[in-house]
Symmetry: C2
């Protein structure tokens, strides 16, 4: 939500539009030449950095809600997006108990009349997405005062149980790397084997073998060699590759084994 | 719930004890010498076979709720249990619209006064478990009229979206096989390489190499060779192995790569 009016409507009548007691939290990984980052928003109410998230509309499937939420924060659609775990430990919303009515009015600019539909414990469905950073345009909404990329190895202490959610997202994303193709929208349409190896090294946090790793991708049929080289002069100019769309899309659905 | 009294209390006052609009559905895989099965309950209300499931207590973490639900149906505790996906497509509860008040009274033995807390769409958290079949004792509860193992390749048409949940559980379990050790409570404490290979073949639905596969388990340190053979006479008696508990438990937490 982008304005005081929208925020107020959400707090007062959100139960008409959204499913109660259930949110989505998105760990949006950003890939930027050799660095892995995640996108965080500074929550106005608890004044801590948190994962971007939101409620799910009653008319919306879960994946669609996650796509909407990641698109709202990054400006990008059709990211690689996966649900990985629900978080529902008893007491995980206690962070919200710290503020009283006066503080709320001061922060948000309005008062909630009567009982809020937002009371009660909330379960969060964890999704992770992989985005490129260059084309993303991070945007805070009315409930947050800032929105920024943070290096995964230099995260601040997050609100709620969001540090745990990030750890689990990283753990699960790194398992999924072995089973789903990745790279569309992260690499240029034509890329060298060195470039795709670097992408996988950054995402997995592991050094990969310069020969075995690309050979595995090639033997799975994921990469197609182009009759074109990156011109860096001389006979060592690296050959360009592109993804084989058919194999790539099939593997996205059916999975593969890359090890 | 085991009795009319408990069922009635659940329908009338369950909102005091349970989280609303959220359930757990468990795909319990059963391993029985060369066959993969799953446990189904025949739902009294919609009269179809369904996954065993239930609501989550307000005082309970999600994993604990799933453990309780699987233990209630199988009689077994501490199964290999993993959350894999939440299911929340719009309209997934429409199957419940088929029956009127009279049918409900006839089936359940009581009438619901006033509005039920059970109306509204429900999101289901999918967990899968792996159990052995020999030691399990499947039990129906008051809401179901039967509880039985079915071969995975001969499932009936299930209620709600439970066929989809089973497909996803199978897909995810087969990915997890590459990343988490499995076999405790499914094999005897001492087993041969042929026996653990058969377990993995049944779970994965794939033929495995008789030498490479066990060698991989051994090289990961998961198996310890015993100075003891299964006596089948002659020099071909196969050697017994057991799991290395320390490596096994660490890998359960931190994951591994088995490929």
């Amino acid at each position: 939500m982008e304005s005081l009016k929208e925020a107020r409507e959400f707090f007062e009548k959100g139960y008409l539009e959204y499913r109660p007691n259930l949110t989505i939290e998105c760990t949006i990984f950003g890939y930027d030449k050799g660095e892995l980052k995640i996108l965080l928003v500074k929550n106005k109410v608890i004044r801590k950095w948190c994962l971007p998230g939101g409620f799910i509309k009653k008319t919306e499937n879960l994946d669609d809600a996650a796509s909407r939420i990641t698109a709202e924060r990054t400006g990008l659609e059709k990211l690689f997006l996966k649900q990985f775990k629900a978080f529902g430990d008893v007491g995980r919303n206690d962070a919200l108990d710290i503020f009283d009515e006066e503080t709320f009015i001061e922060l948000m600019g309005f008062k909630i009349e009567g009982d809020s539909w937002l009371v009660g414990e909330t379960v969060s469905l964890g999704f992770y997405a992989i985005s490129d950073i260059v084309n993303a345009s991070p945007r805070a909404d009315y409930l947050s005062e800032d929105c920024q990329w943070f290096r995964i190895d230099a995260l601040p202490e997050l609100g709620f149980d969001h540090n745990e959610i990030v750890s689990e997202a990283l753990f699960r994303m790194r398992i999924d790397l072995y089973h789903f193709p990745i790279g569309k929208n992260l690499l240029q349409p034509k890329f060298t084997l060195k470039e795709i190896k670097m992408l996988y090294e950054v995402l997995s946090g592991k050094k990969l073998n310069a020969t075995n790793f690309p050979n595995k991708l090639i033997s799975l049929g994921l990469l197609a060699k182009l009759d074109e080289k990156r011109s860096i002069g001389g006979h060592r100019s690296p050959t360009f590759y592109k993804f084989n769309d058919e194999v790539y899309n099939k593997a996205l659905k059916e999975g593969l084994v890359l090890a």
